[in-house]
């Protein structure tokens, strides 16, 4: 039994933003894998819910003529991972969301919910940060687009207002074409897990596959929000692919991350993971990009 006082299923995105505007207590629900937990814990007493669950307009993946990949935020993780566009163009994103919780959570939980929840541990966040995802937010007042790197404001907090609906997650062609990526989720067990550390590495190599042309490094739980490591990324550009470079990158990111100690894991332990997983993910990404290391 859940403490839900009002539940309205929106007919489409326009209806959802209208409902959010009309009821100042309304909260969005899609898959419910975060919201229902908060309700069960008594953190949303007398909840007023506006459901966007399964709205076709917000579900699925498409590619626009210019090559932009548009992900519907209400797409469940399992659907996203099985999508042919994702499997072809962004396989590492599909792999990352295949590590969310267990099968039930992946069938119900959505990629948009994963982002708007604001958690630094979100399994989709490192990949989408590395991809420079553009987040389209719609309210009764109109629409704005926010880059994911400007989306998070703190633990569990984002720039999204309560009455805004995430309607699209857009990946521009220059943010994925020619890149290969690798993601790692480090948890204390192999499934049903929240990340102790998440890591996404994207690399674009020179035509001869010997030199780094571009590098993207993104982390979850390495700071209060998902983060990129722009200095380490820039420092690697133009350098020959080697194990020494992997070590150099792994050390460089330590200056840009800021994990905290908690009862779940110490800062020292997370730093060890960041260094080692960066090294391993970079190597794997290079191999996926056709390089040798």
């Amino acid at each position: 039994m859940f403490d839900i006082q009002r539940f309205t299923a929106a007919s489409d995105a326009a209806d959802a933003v209208r409902l959010l505007r009309e009821d100042p207590d309304a909260v969005l629900i899609a898959g419910g894998t975060d919201v229902l937990i908060r309700i069960r814990e008594g953190k949303l007493p007398d909840a007023h819910l506006v459901s966007i669950h399964g709205l076709p307009e917000l579900t699925g993946v498409r590619r626009t003529p210019d090559g932009t990949i548009v992900i519907g935020p209400a797409t469940p993780f399992a659907v996203l991972a099985a999508d042919p566009i994702i499997q072809t163009c962004l396989p590492f994103l599909g792999e990352a969301v295949s590590r969310v919780g267990g099968p039930q959570t992946r069938e119900a939980g959505t990629v948009g919910g994963n982002l708007v929840n604001g958690a630094t541990s979100a399994d989709s966040a490192p990949s989408l940060c590395a991809l420079n995802a553009q987040l389209v937010l719609r309210s009764a007042d109109g629409t704005r687009t926010v880059p994911i790197t400007a989306f998070y404001t703190g633990p569990g907090r984002t720039v999204r207002r309560r009455d805004e609906l995430l309607t699209e997650i857009r990946i521009l062609p220059e943010d994925y074409a020619g890149f290969a990526g690798e993601t790692v989720k480090y948890g204390k067990r192999a499934a049903m897990e929240i990340a102790t550390l998440g890591c996404a590495v994207m690399v674009r190599l020179s035509d001869d596959k010997r030199t780094v042309r571009a590098l993207r490094l993104a982390y979850g739980v390495a700071a209060p929000t998902p983060i990129r490591c722009p200095q380490a990324e820039a420092a690697a550009v133009g350098k020959p692919v080697s194990t020494a470079l992997a070590d150099e990158i792994a050390h460089a990111v330590l200056d840009e991350v800021n994990p905290r100690s908690s009862w779940r894991a110490s800062r020292e332990f997370r730093l060890q993971l960041i260094e080692e997983l960066t090294r391993r993910a970079f190597r794997a990404a290079v191999i996926r990009a056709g390089g040798a290391i």
Binding site: K188, M192, W263, L271, Q272
Partner: protein, 767 residues
């Protein structure tokens, strides 16, 4: 032959199809929901409690506080009662307690028409406290000036016991030429049972009779404790135990039944239920005891174990529950596994703290004791440079062992065969050779641990059981056991034993799974791996008794002497085995004969005054990823001598379940608390049970002995599989890396710290 066959579980169909009835299926739909209001401190006293707001909430029926309950202290441990006062369990809690001893202590209860209302009202109850410092560890609780948790136990020590064995001393042993000694602190954390079905009870009254339906392992003990807690004659209480979704010892404690029963008496007999949440079960019921040890060992370079010392501190938490019985058991396994040629000094403390109350959990102190015993064994073998398997063969307990204190005897022995079977199965000698001198970031190792485990609780406590059988007109036999099915397969093996003893086929047996203390024969319940051994004998005796009555009746029908008749495969046969009469014909005649009608039934009880040891060992092969601090278990093999197997398929399943529990104990499970003893991870996301992908194939090997003291040669099997896994994995880590970790669980963060300290990671520390 029904015994020894891998027949399907008798309850499989009902459980798989959802027909099996649990507490939630049986409670009246009109039942009120009672929500316990829990303290938000771990140590202190409720000075006042405000309930007006809660009472005013629509749907609330009543609110009761710690100031409303009877002034009666009662025990909760699922032990047989003792008529000797000095052996009785400690009575140290009331239905609700003003003196708060654990975080989440039960200080009030809200009864409402539904769960949601009860939960909301519980959040409106406001308590004021006088707060004392929270005591996390035995060391803190034993310190000078520590607040006393129970007036009856000043100094917070519940019990302190010690013994010395041998003619010499540890100092004598250490002084022997060439003797090598090791000495260290070891520790294991509190973990939780995580049974699938939550703690759940429902009670109502019909006139004076209080009926309690409960998810329990011990219905007859629950009846006694409810009677004690309410101060009423025990027979006014009727406890019904339907199918339950696991217990693992947490339900060998009386948890919510007394409060549920008391509430119905306060509400005119209206049905009231308490169903705890997973968070309450994890943080506020019972745990496995955490232990801290200081131990030492002395051995000669040839591997002769000379002497050991053992000092244990068992963290009891806020209430006594099973108390010192756990620490005593842990000390026993340290004693019973090995032969100290010179001396063994052992002492154990059980100490109240403000951690959650610890109680019974699968293995009952032996998984803890086995960890320290087997970690120390590997550490001393490592110190003298000897293969730890060879060291064990040279020093382990031998055939005919008799415990010097309680007289428990190894009536049958196969520990040497157990070790040999595991050695061959895992390829011990080859792998120890192959894994010597590894250097890379990923290393492999093999390790082992052995154990001994007694079967039941005699002579420490009473062992008694009863069974009833009735022959029906169609030749089927209904069987009622006082012993309980808790998921382990008891109903199936008792059905097999009944069929065997009677001489009927298994399909003729209808075993009643439910215990109803007004109706069922007496039994103390499912714990101590006792039921197949103790209750099984009651089942066998009853079957034999009913068979005699059937044959006597058949003899009258056939007009020939009963001597020489037998019942085999549902037929009365003569000495040659020739069929004389189908059982159903005798049964029909016995019921409806106009000249000789008698109802054929039998009831027997069995007072067990013996015991015997099961033994076993776990063999683990692991791969360690040093830079990530991660252990991957490649192979896990449990080898058991549990005597003759009643049902090999069920035995295998039981061992696999226990190995899974041991795997979690080894690698990931641990209840965590803040400095105020508030649980941090009392949920199934943050409390890390292993998942299927974390679990290797669980391999099982049985060495079957035929124990003469058992009904069918069988010995303890329920608990033993969980015991040796964690130290085996810990010892495999020592083999792989040379790093001796002295505590559980072997979490990546802990391993990284150890690997860094051992210089295995290179580079600078991340500070």
């Amino acid at each position: 032959m029904a015994v020894g066959q891998s027949v399907p579980r008798v309850d499989a169909y009902a459980k798989v199809t959802g027909q099996a009835q649990y507490v939630g299926d049986l409670e009246p739909k009109t039942a009120y929901f009672a929500k316990i209001v829990r303290s938000t401190i771990a140590n202190g006293r409720v000075t006042s409690i405000e309930t007006g707001e809660a009472r005013a909430l629509p749907g609330v029926i009543a609110v009761f506080t710690c100031f409303d309950v009877p002034d009666i202290q009662f025990p909760t441990a699922g032990h047989p009662w003792s008529t000797v006062p000095s052996h009785q369990d400690i009575c140290d809690r009331r239905l609700l307690n003003a003196r708060v001893r654990v975080w989440g202590d039960e200080i009030a209860v809200v009864v409402a028409r539904d769960r949601l209302t009860a939960e909301r009202a519980a959040g409106l109850v406001r308590a004021e406290y006088e707060t004392y410092p929270a005591l996390s560890t035995p060391a803190e609780a034993m310190a000078e000036g520590a607040p006393c948790l129970h007036d009856e136990k000043p100094g917070n020590v519940i019990a302190h016991t010690s013994f010395h064995l041998g003619d010499g001393s540890f100092a004598d042993a250490a002084a022997q030429p060439g003797a090598v000694t090791v000495e260290a602190d070891y520790a294991v954390p509190a973990v939780q049972h995580c049974h699938l079905e939550l703690v759940h009870a429902c009670a109502w009254m019909e006139h004076e009779k209080i009926t309690v339906v409960s998810s329990t392992q011990i219905p007859h003990i629950v009846r006694r404790v409810v009677g004690q807690a309410l101060g009423i004659p025990w027979s006014r209480v009727r406890v019904i135990k339907p199918y339950i979704g696991g217990g693992f010892g947490n339900k060998q404690d009386v948890l919510v039944e007394p409060l549920t029963a008391w509430l119905t008496t306060k509400l005119g007999g209206h049905p009231v239920k308490i169903e705890l949440t997973r968070e309450e079960v994890l943080g506020c019921t019972r745990t496995r005891h955490a232990f801290d040890w200081h131990v030492s060992a002395a051995a000669l370079p040839d591997g002769t174990l000379l002497a050991r010392t053992y000092r244990a501190y068992s963290n009891q938490g806020g209430y006594a529950s099973h108390a010192h019985a756990i620490a005593a058991n842990a000390a026993n396994v340290f004693k019973q596994c090995y032969r100290d040629r010179v001396s063994l000094d052992s002492e154990s403390y059980t100490v109240y703290t403000n951690r959650p109350t610890a109680g019974a959990m699968r293995g009952y102190g032996i998984p803890q004791g086995c960890f320290v015993t087997e970690a120390l064994t590997d550490d001393i073998a490592y110190a003298i440079g000897m293969d730890p398997l060879q060291f064990r063969l040279k020093n382990c307990v031998q055939a005919g062992y008799v415990d010097p204190h309680n007289g428990i005897t190894m009536h049958t022995y196969a520990l040497d065969q157990v070790i040999e079977a595991g050695r061959r199965a895992i390829g011990w000698d080859e792998k120890r050779a192959a894994y010597a001198g590894q250097t890379g970031p990923v290393r492999r190792g093999v390790g082992m641990a052995l154990f001994t485990y007694k079967t039941g609780v005699y002579p420490i406590s009473l062992e008694t059981a009863a069974c009833r059988m009735t022959l029906h007109e169609d030749g089927r036999v209904s069987v009622q056991m006082g012993a309980t099915e808790i998921g382990q397969g008891a109903d199936t093996v008792f059905s097999q034993m009944a069929a065997e003893a009677l001489g009927v086929t298994l399909d003729r047996i209808d075993l009643c799974s439910t215990q109803d203390t007004d109706v069922s024969p007496f039994d103390t319940g499912a714990y101590a791996s006792r039921q197949t051994y103790v209750s099984g004998m009651a089942c066998k005796k009853t079957g034999e008794s009913l068979k005699r009555k059937i044959l006597d009746y058949a003899a009258r029908m056939l007009n020939r002497p009963a001597d020489g008749l037998d019942l085999r495969e549902n037929r009365i046969v003569d000495e040659t085995g020739a069929a004389l009469l189908p059982l159903e014909d005798a049964a029909m005649e016995a019921c409806y004969s106009l000249t000789d009608s008698t109802h054929l039934s039998a009831e027997e009880s069995y007072h067990c005054t013996d015991n015997t040891f099961a033994t076993g060992a776990c063999f683990a092969e692991i791969e360690v990823d040093l830079p990530l601090g991660r252990i991957k278990v490649l192979r896990l093999i449990n080898v058991h001598d549990s005597g003759r197997l009643i049902n090999p398929a069920l035995a295998k399943a039981q061992v696999q379940g226990g190995m899974s529990m041991g795997l979690g104990y080894a690698l990931s499970e641990e209840l965590l608390f803040d400095e105020n003893c508030r649980p941090l991870n009392a949920n199934l996301l943050d409390y890390k049970l292993p998942t299927a992908p974390d679990t290797p194939r669980l391999e099982t090997i049985f060495i079957e002995t035929d124990d003469p003291t058992a009904p069918y040669g069988n010995k303890a099997l329920g608990e033993p599989p969980a015991i040796p896994v964690a130290p085996a994995i810990r010892n495999a880590l020592l083999n792989a890396t040379g790093v001796a970790v002295h505590s559980l669980p072997l979490t990546p963060q802990k391993l990284i710290e150890h690997f860094r300290a051992a210089g295995l990671l290179g580079g600078a520390s991340h500070v």
